[in-house]
């Protein structure tokens, strides 16, 4: 094998107008333009999208699985961030 393997790209698709782009998977392509072309064929054969983002996988920085505790556990005790924490008398009406 003479050549280098094509780089990997992460593919994000906006399913409908008004929605966020969502990660749908990844694919190999030589450059961004081809990544979009390939993503069209691989991930939107049934009109699954109205817009495509492609990002080189190597450019993504991910949190480490071992950091899950320190990152996300602190939110657990902050129940007062949810509306259900507060008892509002029914007489007040919808709030």
């Amino acid at each position: 094998m003479s050549r280098k393997e094509w780089p990997l790209w992460e593919i994000f698709i906006r399913g409908q107008h008004g929605l966020n782009h969502r990660h749908v998977g990844s694919l190999h392509a030589p450059d961004a333009e081809m990544a979009i072309n390939n993503a069209r064929d691989v991930y939107t054969r049934r009109k699954e999208g109205v817009s495509i983002w492609v990002v080189p996988s190597a450019q993504i920085t991910a949190s480490a699985p071992s950091d899950k505790g320190p990152l996300f556990d602190p939110a657990e005790s902050k129940v007062y961030r949810h509306p259900t924490f507060y008892d509002i008398p029914e007489d007040v009406g919808h709030m």
């Binding site: 050549r3 280098k4 393997e5 998977g25 990844s26 030589p30 064929d41 054969r45 991910a62």
Partner: protein, 332 residues
Amino acid sequence: MYAQMVKSEGMKSLEDMTPEERAFQERIDRGEKIEPKEWMPEGYRKTLIRQIGQHAHSEIVGQLPEGNWVTRAPTLERKAILLAKVQDEAGHGLYLYSAAETLGVSRDELMEKLHSGAMKYSSIFNYPTLTWADMGAVGWLVDGAAIMNQVPLQRTSYGPYSRAMIRICKEESFHQRQGYAIMMKMAQGTPEQREMAQDAFNRFWFPALMMFGPSDKDSVHSAQSMAWKIKMNTNDELRQKFVDETVPQAEFLGLTVPDETLRWNEARGHYDFAEPDWDEFFEVIKGNGPCNEERLEARRSAWDRGAWFRDGLSAYAEKAAARRAAARVAAE
């Protein structure tokens, strides 16, 4: 099943596990998904690479028997449908290769292992597609058997594999239905067409039953894979389910299941049926099926003859990147 006889690693009891292994097994037992960068036993990783890789190879090689009829489809509509179906299979292969790559194997490595014969693909694709009716039989039976196996795998423990299976299952139903529609057309057609439909059914019935892999009593690697939830049902369970669902569909077509021993067993609530010829199965797996050489040769030659194109696109991408960099410098 698209992954037959995947070699798994030895099974350990909870007591013999290291604390890490035990925590891992408990996560799986709780129904949690395992994601790529998380700790996993080496055996889990290796077994998954084999299984997902074999599954991906099956999707890719599986294009060949149907690709054989794209240019000879009886109508333009049938041609468009078959082309769309074959294109879906390419997509399935790509979703699965990507899932395998999250386990630390490269795409080129997977390709190389397919081409060298180090990795297998499903035995079913080593049978020839001789008539147009075979396009019906393949969609109905082969995709039907694949669905039987893939639906439960949507709940598999490995996140990327599970997500690939969910995408694939959404697309498979079209495959089976277009196949069955071809069979209906043929079965209701001229006597010659009926005969073609029956002939295709005769040739694909037992190879389709083999797709689920050897009988449970000869299936040595199931226990560990089932504990890890990368195999959700035993081979015989799925084979029985397939037979039970397919027989009434054959009756509707007015076709005869090519098995004289086939009987409804009232007590079991299932059909009794003849096992496929396992010697034939093992021969096909070993590389001695009717089309093994042809299939591998087609894949190798597609890879080799596509090299200039892959290299060309890489060279273009590099030059374009260099041009963009130069333009940036000039603009500063």
